[in-house]
């Protein structure tokens, strides 16, 4: 069935600046073709008193270009359909046409907020294919920078969450703190956001004086800053009442939907990739896995508070890394042109949003045959439809923000 072409094609090809009379009202949320699946048929049929509202790709708080079609009954959301693909850049295809070294810079923009973890998983997969042993110092540096980035991502999440609920101040405070951490990482990696720092077999540059002095400064204030962050919004009645009992997710549903990361741990399931499938030097480090929402599952407030707990655990890990940092080389010696043996490898890391994994199929040439990316935000976003049934419109934003999606990873 190709008669209607692509949806929302502009009907008047002569002059795009003029909209004809019979085109008014046609730019609806409903696609112009009949429903193709059962879910579409159920979603796009309206009952009495319901209407579609399109929270379009351009929206101040859909965390990027996400389109959400809401079926509203007054203020109450009856059903919800996220439409993805507005940020699709063909990363997996790009990786198929890139050298193994090149892939690291291609895959950074997936979760641009915490891009070191995006580099970590493919690099681990390639190391498995190439049987490369990563020097211990490089592993410790990876863990150190990764946990720093986790702290910065969770602090930013705090501000984001408040912004979606209407508070204008906390996000700027979050950005000030994130700026500090990101400047620190710029001193060692050379970039503030898409770091391109990990290499197959190690990392790019060693820790230098600038980084260590900034890190020392930050660590001396980290605990107190964390206390202040906790107290910032926890006691605010408006904030708490907007988040309590909204979007309650229990552990069984979360596991069934494939959630991972803080969203899963806030539903009572203590699953963390760093402990369940240990990688790098995590077995040697001491840290706990905080869990919340044991009975009845976790609501948005639990998800918010859990990320704050994780920050204190990350600070603990950073401390241990600094104390136990071994000497040695930071990168294994590898040829420029890499041709791994034909085979498959899977590697997963605990990104701030969940389990981020890559499955690489190599065919012996210098470019991978296929690189499949499992992104945590993509899976977590599917929860929104489940959690949003029969809540109010304003709660959509609270729930979506509490799941902490990043559109780069969702659309790849």
């Amino acid at each position: 069935m190709t008669a209607s072409g692509t949806p929302h094609q502009h009907p008047s090809l002569d002059d795009p600046r003029i909209m004809l009379d019979d085109q008014i009202g046609q730019f609806e949320a409903v696609p112009p073709y009949p429903p193709r699946t059962e879910r579409e048929a159920e979603f796009y049929s309206l009952r009495d008193g319901e209407m579609f509202v399109n929270m379009g790709p351009q929206h101040p708080s859909t965390h990027g270009v996400l389109r959400v079609v809401l079926k509203l009954n007054g203020e109450q959301v009856v059903d919800l359909d996220p439409v993805l693909g507005y940020l699709h850049r063909g990363v997996e295809k790009l990786c198929e046409n890139s050298d193994y070294h090149h892939i690291i810079s291609q895959i950074d923009p997936l979760e641009y907020v915490s891009s070191l973890f995006m580099e970590w998983a493919p690099v681990m997969a390639f190391e498995k294919l190439l049987d490369v042993e990563v020097p211990r110092r490089a592993e410790y540096i990876r863990v150190l920078t990764g946990e720093l980035l986790r702290v910065s991502s969770h602090v930013l999440y705090q501000g984001w969450m408040a912004l979606d609920l209407g508070g204008l101040a906390p996000i700027l405070y979050s950005f000030i703190e994130r700026d500090e951490i990101v400047e620190m990482l710029a001193a060692v990696t050379g970039q503030r956001m898409l770091f391109n720092y990990f290499r197959i077999g190690g990392v790019n540059g060693d820790l230098n004086h600038e980084f260590m002095s900034r890190l020392g400064d930050w660590m001396s204030r980290a605990a107190k800053q964390h206390e202040a962050n906790i107290g910032l919004l926890n006691e605010n009645e408006i904030f708490v009442r907007r988040m309590r009992d909204i979007g309650r997710l229990d552990g069984a549903t979360a596991l069934r939907m494939g959630t991972s990361g803080p969203n899963l741990r806030a539903s009572g399931v203590p699953f963390d990739v760093r402990r369940a499938h240990p990688y790098s030097v995590y077995p040697e480090l001491e840290f706990d896995i905080p869990t919340r929402g044991g009975n009845g599952g976790g609501d948005s407030l639990d998800r918010y508070l859990l990320r704050l707990d994780e920050v204190s655990q990350s600070i603990r890990i950073i401390d241990q890394c600094l104390h136990n940092m071994p000497d040695g080389p930071i990168m294994a010696r590898l040829p420029r042109l890499l041709r791994p043996r034909p085979g498959r490898a899977w590697a997963a890391v605990e990104a701030p949003r969940g389990l981020f994994g890559t499955y690489v199929i190599s065919d012996g040439t210098d470019q991978p045959f296929r690189m499949k990316i499992h992104d945590p935000s993509f899976v977590n976003l599917q929860l929104v439809g489940l959690l949003m049934k029969n809540n109010l419109l304003a709660d959509t934003m609270a729930v979506m923000a509490s799941l902490d999606p990043v559109m780069g990873g969702i659309d790849k």
């Binding site: 008014i24 579609f52 979606d164 934003m397």
Partner: protein
């Protein structure tokens, strides 16, 4: 391209300003002056002299309108700067010194934007809805007492008029939301209407206790009743009423934490989504004028309007001095002051310039003189202001009223920078389940107290 066009294009900016100015001053100016002096002037004087009441009314309205726009500008600038400072950033600071002209330029920008109506929207209603909102906001200025004797129209049902007119804004909001032919706007408009309507009741009930105490609906007389020390202010006699009024007024003005109607992280701009250009400017300004109105109301009703916190005259009477009174009568002073007016500025400029000149060795003398002159102006204006404050009671009242109003505007802006938004059902629940019973409780207690005290 005609010759005139090309010549105009070759002028520099200075030329483009000077040539029309010359034309105006040398040719148009004298002609208009002669016309006015001989023909229009006397006719106008006769007309105005014959109808003083209408003149007063027109002047009052003109003053009100002319005041509302600069007030809105100042409040917008304050909001941007204060919220920025609370967010640890600098707000606008490029346009003018410290960004002071930012809101003026924003107003001009809003005037120059493209003026279109979305297809399918009801053109007439779309255009007139913002006008209605702005109108109801500005009409309330008429009864607010800015100082003793400085009130637009001293209606003896002033408070009732204010609430009635202010409540009409909900019609404007609804019309704006409906006429935009947009679901977001509709949602926003309905939310705004529900919110404003449900907070009207606690708002009006919270001041009924005060009306019982004061015995009048006229804002002027309520202000006069709070003369004296700050303990006479009604906030100490009606604390619950003041609190309820404060919360309900925040909701009436659609301010955070009750700004569901324009929640910009959910429904873009609510009922104002489809508006652009001056129509949006009207809605935008109406909101800020509303902020000023509610803080002015709060000050008038509960915080003493134009009364100073302390009564200087009673302090002086305690000490034994007579009350300060200054009669300004320049005509009786004679030739001496004229001479002084020529000599004193020059002398003081030089005297004030000396420290500037000495403080920095690289400063040229003319710069020091300019700075000295500016300092002299500052001191002279300060002294004149002090004289006016002591001599004219309306000046003192105006200063206190404005100061207190802007303090409360600061509080509203402070709240906006701090709090997240309250959800619509929580908002309405709060109004109907908490504020309304509290206002009724306040009313009953006040009425009972009055009966007990009287008997």
């Amino acid at each position: 391209m005609t010759t005139v066009n090309r010549a105009w294009g070759h002028l520099s900016l200075r030329g483009k300003v000077i040539i029309p100015l010359l034309f105006l001053v040398l040719i148009v100016g004298p002609i208009v002056t002669i016309l006015f002096a001989n023909v229009v002037g006397p006719w106008l004087a006769d007309l105005l002299g014959a109808n003083p009441q209408i003149v007063r009314f027109v002047v009052a309205i003109g003053g009100v309108l002319l005041f509302s726009i600069p007030a809105a500008f100042i409040i917008i600038y304050m909001e941007l700067k204060v919220i920025a400072f609370m967010n640890l950033r600098i707000g606008p600071d490029r346009v003018g010194p410290k960004g002071a002209f930012h809101s003026l330029v924003a107003g001009l920008k809003v005037l120059t934007k493209e003026d279109f109506t979305p297809t399918g929207a009801d053109h007439i209603v779309f255009t007139w809805a913002p006008v209605l909102v702005f109108l109801t906001a500005v009409m309330t200025f008429l009864v607010i007492p800015f100082g003793p004797g400085l009130v637009g129209q001293d209606l003896n049902i002033g408070l009732l008029y204010l609430f009635a007119v202010g409540g009409m804004s909900v019609v404007g909001l609804l019309l704006a939301g409906w006429a935009s032919f947009n679901k977001y706007s509709l949602l926003g408009g309905l939310r705004a209407a529900a919110q404003v309507v449900s907070y009207e009741i606690p708002l009006t009930l919270s001041v009924v206790g005060l009306i019982l105490l004061a015995g009048t609906l006229s804002l002027n007389r309520i202000a006069e009743a709070q003369a004296g020390w700050f303990t006479d202010w009604y906030v100490f006699r009606q604390p619950l009423g003041a609190l309820i009024f404060f919360i309900a007024a925040t909701a009436e003005a659609n301010r955070t934490p009750f700004d569901m109607a324009e929640a910009d992280s959910e429904i873009v701009a609510g009922f104002a989504t489809e508006y652009s250009g001056m129509r949006f400017g009207f809605l935008f300004f109406a909101e800020y004028v509303n902020v000023f109105i509610i803080s002015a109301l709060l000050v008038t009703l509960f915080f003493g309007a134009w009364n100073a916190p302390v009564d200087i005259n009673s302090i002086l009477a305690l000490v034994g001095l007579s009350p300060i009174a200054v009669t300004l009568d320049p005509a009786s002073l004679g030739v001496g002051p004229l001479f002084l007016m020529l000599v004193v500025p020059v002398v003081l400029t030089v005297i004030f310039a000396v420290p500037f000149y000495l403080a920095r060795s690289t400063r040229p003398a003319w710069q020091a003189l300019v700075l000295g002159f500016l300092l002299f102006i500052l001191v002279a204006v300060g002294l004149l202001f002090l004289l006016a404050y002591i001599g004219w009671p309306w000046m003192a009242g105006l200063v206190w009223f404005m100061g207190k109003s802007f303090l409360f505007v600061y509080v509203f802006v402070w709240m906006r920078g701090t709090f997240p938004r309250v959800r619509i059902d929580q908002l309405m629940g709060f109004a109907w389940k908490w504020l309304l019973p509290a206002a009724l409780l306040n009313l009953f207690v006040t009425a009972a107290a009055i009966i007990i005290v009287k008997s």
